[in-house]
């Protein structure tokens, strides 16, 4: 974890550094007043060694979220330039469950590996990782992708224009597009937008009611556990120690709210799983927002540099006058 800075550290830094520049301090205060108090994010732990690949979680997800699925209007409006705007239509392929689609936010990935000289098959439930600092949310140009204080991220189907930027910037390319639905139809459908992006929203509406996500509840093997980050991380590490296993998701993309524990190294699993469209990898992922975070720190120094330059000039010209 290289470049994580807490809000308090950031504010403290900005207030001290900008001591001489009233404007910056004011901004920091304003910023503090519109961010709310932090709550510990909820994290899910997935014990891959327990998963039997029964796909109960996949069906539970579909059932629980069916009313969120798109009902696109057909025929789709023509979108220009036609060679550049792909029509992505999953509305006739709702039964596809071996990859992520706008109608399937969770699927089971298959891997085989050799453990203690024996070949074993593993099944891995895959969906959005709910990153700590989700690029899909932070880089969405309209604020259509949102992150809640409990750490989950979701895309608002009433606001998303389907430009797919969230997918481009997601290190796992998780969100999937359905053309012919959403706000863009009421704007300039021929020239801007292309539907709505869909992905796991960690059953935010069930969480609001105090229920656990559908996939967690449905699993007969109790593969998933959900809880506050510190507690889940402790559990994950204990579990990894116990099975002499490996962890994925704790540091990927600067940290996520999804922690996989596996008896097989993730590099091995990554080699074995089928990857491609709608089928995310298990690579190591660097913190995609790290450069931005570092530049944000540098930004605190910008007004100070400006003040220094102005006083430098003042000093030089007063010297010249003498």
């Amino acid at each position: 974890m290289t470049s994580k800075i807490s809000r308090r550290a950031f504010l403290k830094g900005s207030i001290t550094a900008a001591g001489s520049v009233v404007a910056t301090t004011g901004i920091a205060r304003a910023a503090k007043s519109i961010t709310r108090e932090k709550q510990e994010p909820l994290v899910t732990l997935l014990d891959i060694s327990k998963c039997i690949g029964c796909e109960e979680c996949v069906f539970a997800c579909q059932q629980a979220n069916a009313d969120k699925y798109p009902e696109p209007e057909k025929p789709f409006p023509k979108m220009y330039p036609t060679s550049k705007v792909p029509v992505e239509d999953w509305s006739d392929k709702k039964d596809v469950i071996d990859r992520l689609t706008p109608y399937n936010w969770l699927f089971i990935q298959h891997a085989s590996a050799i453990v203690n000289g024996e070949q074993i098959d593993l099944t891995i439930p895959r969906r959005c990782m709910h990153c700590d600092n989700p690029p899909c949310v932070k880089l969405c140009p309209w604020g259509s992708a949102k992150q809640e204080e409990n750490g989950l991220s979701r895309i608002d189907p009433d606001l998303c224009l389907g430009g797919s930027k969230c997918k481009t910037v997601c290190p796992w390319k998780i969100p999937e597009r359905q053309t012919g639905t959403g706000l863009y139809l009421n704007l300039l459908p021929a020239f801007a937008g292309n539907g709505v992006m869909y992905k796991c929203d960690r059953c935010y509406n069930r969480l609001e009611k105090g229920e656990v996500p559908a996939c967690i509840e449905a699993c007969p093997e109790d593969v998933q556990t959900i809880g506050p980050r510190s507690e889940i991380l402790k559990k994950a590490h204990a579990l990894a120690r116990e099975m002499n296993g490996y962890i994925y998701g704790e540091n990927e993309n600067g940290g996520t709210n999804t922690i996989y524990v596996s008896p097989v190294p993730f590099e091995e699993l990554n080699k074995s799983i089928e990857k491609g469209k709608g089928k995310p990898h298990l690579n190591k992922v660097k913190d995609m927002m790290a450069d931005g975070t570092n530049l944000a720190k540098a930004m605190i120094l910008a007004p100070i540099a400006g003040v220094a330059a102005a006083f430098g000039k003042f000093y030089l010209s007063s010297k010249e006058d003498k």
Binding site: A30, T35, P81, A296, A302, G306, A310, F314
Partner: protein, 148 residues
């Protein structure tokens, strides 16, 4: 002091060009409308590149604006006057910087702004950018100076 004035204008123009370009690149439009296909412009479709570029240009802009502000307060407030177009331009720039800095802050890890706040920030930033472009073009075309 003629030369510093020129350098200042030069830096401001280049920064404004890149900050506007990288700003518009935050919307997924350059790929759709062939601009990223122009040789040498492919980076316009790379969101992480344009994101970083926008931040760097913002750092230069904030430093420059602070410099001009302090320089004006201490050295030049008796020599020059800000025009009405100037005040409008300054107001819009200030708005862009404030909303921009808030968005940089929002993009840090573990920072949660309200959903509506984020949408308002996004749209205000975009509208102010359009206004700045308008004021700048108006100033250039009608030869309106921000200061006299």
């Amino acid at each position: 002091m003629k030369t510093t004035g020129k350098t200042r204008k030069y830096i401001y123009t280049i920064t404004l060009f890149f900050i506007t370009l990288s700003g518009f690149a935050q919307m997924p439009i350059f790929k759709r409308y062939y601009i990223a296909d122009i040789p040498g412009f492919g980076w316009l479709a790379q969101f992480y590149v344009t994101h970083i570029m926008h931040y760097i240009a913002a750092i230069v802009l904030i430093a420059l604006v602070t410099y001009i502000l302090i320089d004006f307060m201490f050295n030049r407030s008796r020599l020059i006057k800000i025009t009405r177009t100037g005040y409008l331009g300054i107001l819009v720039l200030a708005g862009l910087i404030v909303t921009g800095v808030l968005m940089v802050f929002k993009n840090l890890s573990n920072i949660y702004f309200g959903h509506t706040t984020i949408i308002v920030l996004d749209l205000t930033h975009l509208s102010l950018c359009m206004m700045l472009l308008f004021v700048s073009f108006y100033s250039v075309i009608r030869k309106k100076s921000w200061v006299i």
